[in-house]
Subunit: 189 residues, 2 copies
């Protein structure tokens, strides 16, 4: 993923409600970058008063170089699975960055000069695997398919590594569904 900053630094924010698996998604993405793409990465959760309200947020910074500041400054991409998360973080996405939302959860996106991508992410998860719990993995497929923040091979390995035993295949289906949607979107130009 290219950006306009002087060093190679990609900043991703994943936000939603507690239980949507955004923190695990952040860990998987960080591990994909560091372990399988051999980059440096940091992965952070900052819990403030919003944690008590059930909001959940993970941040991942990926770089070829040293990472001085482990938190997102200006996101290259935001995945928002709730209206509250989208309202809170849409304004922090950089110009020409990506905002990816579950359009059955998020109606309005208050941002301009960004690429807004709307998919029924949770529904796609249920259709692909029968399990809403794979929503976070579908979201990772969409994110990586659109942004190339990490390689497809890396995210596949990282998902399998963190998948509970016996659920590897289901999680691969969820990831593939996300990639497929991303490719359709890119194909639509």
């Amino acid at each position: 993923m290219s950006n306009n900053k002087s060093i190679d630094r990609t900043e991703i924010r994943l936000a939603g409600e507690g239980g949507q698996g955004m923190i695990l998604a952040g860990i998987i993405l960080g591990e994909a970058a560091a372990i399988y793409d051999s980059k440096n990465a940091t992965q952070t959760q900052s819990y403030g008063p919003e944690a008590r309200g059930g909001a959940s947020r993970a941040e991942v910074v990926i770089s070829n170089g040293e990472i001085d500041h482990p938190e997102v400054i200006n996101a290259d991409a935001l995945v928002a699975l709730s209206q509250e998360a989208c309202d809170k973080y849409a304004g922090n996405v950089r110009r020409d960055g990506w905002i990816i939302v579950d359009d059955e959860k998020v109606g309005r996106v208050l941002a301009s000069h960004v690429k807004i991508v709307r998919f029924p992410i949770m529904r796609m998860a249920v259709e692909a695997t029968g399990k809403a719990i794979t929503t976070n993995v579908v979201a990772l497929g969409v994110l990586v398919g659109l942004t190339n923040a990490v390689s497809r091979e890396a995210i596949e390995k990282a998902v399998v590594k963190r998948a509970p035993k016996g659920t590897e295949e289901m999680n691969m289906k969820a990831l593939a569904a996300g990639f497929e949607a991303a490719q359709d979107y890119i194909g639509r130009g």
Copy 2:
């Protein structure tokens, strides 16, 4: 947990090998502080080249106030479940801080002016629950029992929240085993 810094800030580092659950332990501790103790917390993984070697590290910073810097500067407590992790991080623990090691994994602790606590943490997990996978939860019990980094009620709730369905009771046993060992240690004075 009190420390000598001007603001109330507690820094915990959890380190071991991949698969020992240190990252999940960090998430549980961060959620205990933020959601159940109503403090601010950050929880970070920084992956560098060491991630490729199977090392795993989580950092948690807990404060009553704003957290400017989300990473550990000088740890109040280190939990080290491998010799490599202990060698790497023991020197970064503050004076009078805690180093908690699994003494069947860690032989030497290269640090002075710190409190060094040695328990067979993985063996305690197997004895308490029959499952080595609960090692990270036993470690949390020891850590919280010794340091009071979060309240016992908070860590119990956070462990249950993150426990896979059906394993809540097993994880409570693991946590209790850790607390019991901590209390024995304190009792020995």
